[in-house]
Amino acid sequence: MERPTALDLYRVMRRIRDFEERATVLFGEGKLWGTIHSYAGEEGIAAGVCAHLRDDDWITSTHRGHGHCIAKGADLGRMYAELLGRETGYCRGRGGSMHIADTSKGNLGANGIVGGGIPIATGAALTAKQLGTDQVAVSFFGDGAANQGAFHESANLASIWKLPVIYVCENNQYAESLPVKNAFAIDDISSRAGGYGMPGVRVNGRDVRAVYDAAGELIARARRGEGPAFLVADTYRHEGHYYGDPRKYQSKDEIEGWKTRFDPLVDTRAWITEAKLATAAELDAIDAEVIEEAKRAVAWAEAGPPASPISLPGDVYASY
């Protein structure tokens, strides 16, 4: 891998990790409301996949969507502003963490409905096919969503119509409290792709290079008009399902063990320095830049005006 690509991937991953940590602090301070779902531990997937996407390619995301949003190029200030319920937020405080969209960058939205984005990405791919463009759509979702009818219906539609859509399943071992082994009678989720006649690829989600390479091939293939694909990345979420999750379904050993054994940021630093693509000092410098950028973003967000009152019918309907 070339140095600029490696450093870009690292920077995006660090941005995501920093965002999740900072959002957690803001939550603890009582500045956020509702719920947030941390993507910490899964950064390499969003970073590795979105590195291949253009601004006019589309993604659909999930309740655990901050990482996808950042990897697709969102402005951090507007993301924080959304979490803080400001008018300057991406959704003017109407959406919040689970509904951030950034249509200017092709992010068709996070989704509070497990599996809800999968048919939508499929429809976006239909637009590309219909209009004869080389755009692609990527749908990110969890292992839990892979058991929704939405996934199965969409995968079938995409394959019979050869749509340029990549289904990216982030297998973080749990759907809320349900372990993957109790939700699937198969070991390899990607084997489901065979039932739809599309390639199924399983990668180690802690290795951003593996994600980057696999996604690159599948996305290029879709762009060439060769149809959809299913990418499953094995990963692990460092935090609970949501902020404040008591995690009764996991042992302390498991939680601590995974967190120290499974950290894609540590891995990424290691291979970048070992491959001599950058020094530890250079990576530290990126970390420092990311922190400064994030602090500025939060300050900007906190200075924003509160979300304006709901205006009807204009907030709800385009015309009425």
């Binding site: 991406y90 405080g93 509070g112 809800g116 048919p119 209009l131 939405a150 079938n156 709800v316 385009a318």
Partner: protein, 328 residues
């Protein structure tokens, strides 16, 4: 109506609207089951495959959720999809995409999104299709902020409203009635739009206002004819579009006639008639000479047997009877 008209069936009028809009705008595509060679379960898309080919008349597998969801995604990204869902009774399978996605994207994303899609489907009883193929579910959709709900009763309205629905930038639930498809009427030729949110006075009258929609418009008009023979002049207002609702038309009429009867085929409990009655009670109470009345479906699934089916939804004589009670 001015200009040239042609006598057409309701389903032909719908097909004509689709054809004209597809000719006008290549972003309009149709998705649905059996809509290609077969022409759709109710022959609305008959002939369109030959004209527009299989990429624009996109026949789908039986995947209501997938189809409606794909339409949402396509609408968000630049197409103007029209989904044909064979029966409104199947909409439960697609409800997440309608209610949580299509309806709310614009709001949730702070105005960034537009979802210009139409879900055409049909409902209603009267053909012996029994409980799972005969319901009237418009109230479900009217309850969802972000959806528009349209129910044409005549071939001309069917054409004009579908044209407007396709050009509308919000998701529109377009509810046809299975027994209206083979009704005939004069339909304006060429481009014809009926705006969403405009009720139509299908018959003028002075003694009571009947507010109704879909197939019950036809029943109400027939009832009004019988009432006239007994010296009672009923005004029949066809809402045509339930959301947006033409409140002004309803209120203005009730202020003249001082009596309201709402008639619909859907079950009375929780039905949209309650909304109409409540609006009139809240805003025109002093103009009323009698309490508002609702005549609507019984709280039962639709039965199969021919003699039973009729007993659970308002028939012409029921309307005559209740109207007479109201003016008595």
């Amino acid at each position: 109506m001015t200009g040239a008209t042609r006598e057409m069936f309701y389903n032909e009028a719908l097909g004509e609207a689709l054809r004209l809009e597809m000719e006008r705008d290549e972003r309009v595509i149709v998705l649905g089951e059996d809509i290609a060679e077969h022409g759709g379960a109710f022959q609305v898309t008959a002939g369109l495959l030959d004209k527009f080919g299989p990429t624009r008349i996109r026949q789908t597998p039986i995947s209501e959720l997938g189809i409606v969801g794909a339409a949402v995604g396509a609408a968000l990204t630049g197409l103007r999809p029209v989904v044909e869902l064979m029966y409104v009774d199947f909409s439960g399978l697609a409800m997440d995409q309608l209610v949580n996605q299509a309806a709310q994207n614009r709001f949730m994303f702070g105005g960034q999104a537009r979802v210009p899609m139409v879900m055409r489907t049909q409902g209603g009883s009267g053909r012996g299709n029994a409980a799972q193929h005969s319901k009237s579910l418009e109230a479900w959709f009217t309850h969802v902020a972000g959806l528009k709900v349209v129910m044409p009763s005549t071939p001309a309205d069917a054409k004009g409203l579908l044209t407007s629905a396709i050009r509308d930038d919000d998701p529109v639930i377009f509810l046809e009635h299975k027994l209206l498809y083979r009704t005939k009427g004069q339909v304006p030729s060429g481009e014809y739009l009926v705006p969403l949110g405009k009720a139509d006075v299908k018959r003028a009258g002075t003694d009571l206002t009947i507010v109704t929609w879909s197939r019950e418009v036809l029943f109400s008009l027939e009832a009004a004819g019988k009432l006239a023979a007994d010296g009672i002049e009923a005004e029949v207002i066809d809402l045509r579009s339930l959301v947006p609702l033409d409140r002004d038309a309803v209120l203005a009429s009730v202020r003249r006639t001082h009596r309201l009867l709402v008639v619909h085929e859907a079950i009375k409990r929780g039905g949209y008639g309650g909304e109409i009655a409540a609006i009139v009670a809240e805003e025109a109470f002093d103009d009323l000479d009698a309490p508002p009345r609702r005549l609507a479906g019984l709280e039962t699934p639709i039965p199969y047997a021919q003699h039973l089916e009729k007993t659970v939804v308002p028939q012409v004589d029921d309307i005559v009877r209740v109207a007479k009670e109201l003016v008595a």
